[in-house]
């Protein structure tokens, strides 16, 4: 207990977020659930999505096997970030941002896939406990004094926008079985997929109860030149600005010289 706390203290918040689900999995697998763990085995075709210079989105294959009967639910969750939602109003004929609500956190990505319609095999209590579905996402307003009706309408707008951007998706019936035991589903990540540490939870549900669960991490990160440039622009902002100036001047000068000699 104290050792874990000591480890946690040494970690930066980012790795801490990753560590908690990892530890949870370890305890789940190693503890009394040893028998249950065999009920479900799943893995990803890759645990890293690399956003390279030519990135146009990515598709991962999640596959696994179950023991006995049941339905499979897959939840893919991105890291959480604070968000502002703004509402436009027409003023003097022009649409202008007026009202806004700040949310303390919202997942940058959410995907739920299941082997058939969720209502058919998952009771409400389970949906709510495991936050299965868009309406169970935890998106609290930063300011608790904002009227509930307003928060609800802004939260709905947030979910609608994320859905339109392909970042919140539902795929009931997209987990397909090959025979009785093997299952697979594709998880699509659009070109605008945010970076960070994602968690993928896979549940085996039988008779309205979770009889098997597995959590796998997934890293989405920028790699290559684009990533270097992005990090440099944020970490050494002033130097980046100066280098941009030098590069542009150099390019302009080269252009002038090249065409003078033609």
């Amino acid at each position: 207990m104290t050792m874990i706390q000591a480890i946690m203290k040494k970690r930066t918040p980012d790795t801490g977020n990753l560590l908690i689900p990892l530890l949870a999995v370890v305890f789940l697998l190693a503890g009394p659930a040893a028998v249950r763990a065999e009920a479900l085995v799943a893995d990803l075709s890759s645990h890293l999505i690399a956003i390279t210079t030519g990135f146009q989105g990515s598709e991962l294959l999640l596959f696994g096997a179950i023991d006995g009967e049941g339905d499979v639910v897959v939840l893919v969750r991105g890291p959480e970030e604070p968000l502002k939602v703004r509402r436009k109003d027409r003023i003097g004929g022009v649409w202008i941002n007026r009202d806004e609500v700040t949310f303390k956190k919202a997942p940058v990505f959410f995907r739920m896939a299941s082997s058939r319609s969720m209502e058919d095999f998952v009771p409400y209590a389970l949906l709510s406990r495991h936050r299965m579905g868009l309406r169970f996402l935890e998106i609290p307003a930063a300011d608790e004094t904002v009227p509930q009706a307003k928060v609800t309408s802004f939260r709905t707008a947030l979910i609608r926008t994320k859905t339109r951007e392909g970042l919140y998706t539902l795929g009931e019936g997209t987990v397909t079985f090959l025979g009785d035991r093997l299952f697979r589903t594709n998880v699509v990540f659009p070109p605008n997929v945010p970076t960070g540490t994602y968690t993928i939870e896979v549940f085996l549900v039988r008779d309205g109860h979770v009889v098997g669960a597995q959590t796998t991490p997934l890293i989405v990160s920028k790699v290559g030149l684009g990533a270097e440039v992005f990090l440099f622009a944020h970490r050494h902002a002033a130097l980046y600005g100066i280098l941009s100036v030098i590069l542009a001047m150099l390019a302009g000068w080269l252009g002038a010289v090249a065409f003078r000699k033609v």
Binding site: K84, R90, R164, F230, H234, A237, M249, A256
Partner: protein, 316 residues
Amino acid sequence: MSGFSLMQVYLPIAEISVNVFYLLGLGGLVGALSGLFGVGGGFLMTPFLIFTGIPPAVAVATEANQILGASVSGVLAYWRRSSVDFKMGFVLLAGGMVGSSFGVWLFSMLRGFGQIDLVISLAYVVFLSVIGALMLAESGRTMLLHRRREAAKRKLHKHIWLHGLPLKTRFRKSKLYISALLPLGVGFFVGLLAAIMGVGGGFVMVPAMIYLIGMPTSMVVGTSLFQIIFVTANVTILQAYYNQTVDVFLALLLLIGGVIGAQIGTRAGSFLRGEQLRGLLALVVLGVCARILFDLVVTPNDLFSLASSAVSAAGL
């Protein structure tokens, strides 16, 4: 299709993928226009980038960086011909530095309030409509004058009350003895536009230098380019520092297209009739203006929009 998609480039700061040839072509097209008409082209490039889906804040900051390169390319030619009034340039520049720094600060504030996109759009609507209308009227008048075979006579330098303000200074190269407050003020205003609209400001500065300051036309373009270089360099560094909105990939791609386009434009210019082309450019400017206005007025598909509320920590 797959061949095309291979040529997509992910812009690290704008955070979207755009086709390389599209960006080179856009740079080339606007470059050709600037070669043809002697305008900087920033006031067309920034709206086109926004139409492409580049976030307006990134489009504006990156355009400043691109104009910097294009102006370096242009000023060398004028320097060789010694048609740069450096003293006037430095006075304009002093105003420009203050104006552009104030502009970047204002930009950050407006961005925090969620109003920057609106201000950029409104500024464009105002300037593009005025410039487009003036150009259209001017080219129409010139076409009529051609028909009557009558050349308009204009006084080279008219003395107005603004020239009598305090801080009178002699500008030898421009053959002027006027108040330094006037070029300072012009510089300030143009610097502000550079920061907020992502333009070099040549389209405001050149007329202001001719009609307001009274400089000889031969000195105007070189001096204006000289000033634009330093103001856009200032804007680039400040935008990169405070807002992290300068996309160097995007700027370089547009520059490559622009440098080539400018050469084509300059050469094509000698074969084509000026006033008709100016009329055409005026129509392009008014068209872009109409499109921006339309986007402002038409009811959006969704009234709600998202913005990251994470505070941008400079130098983190």
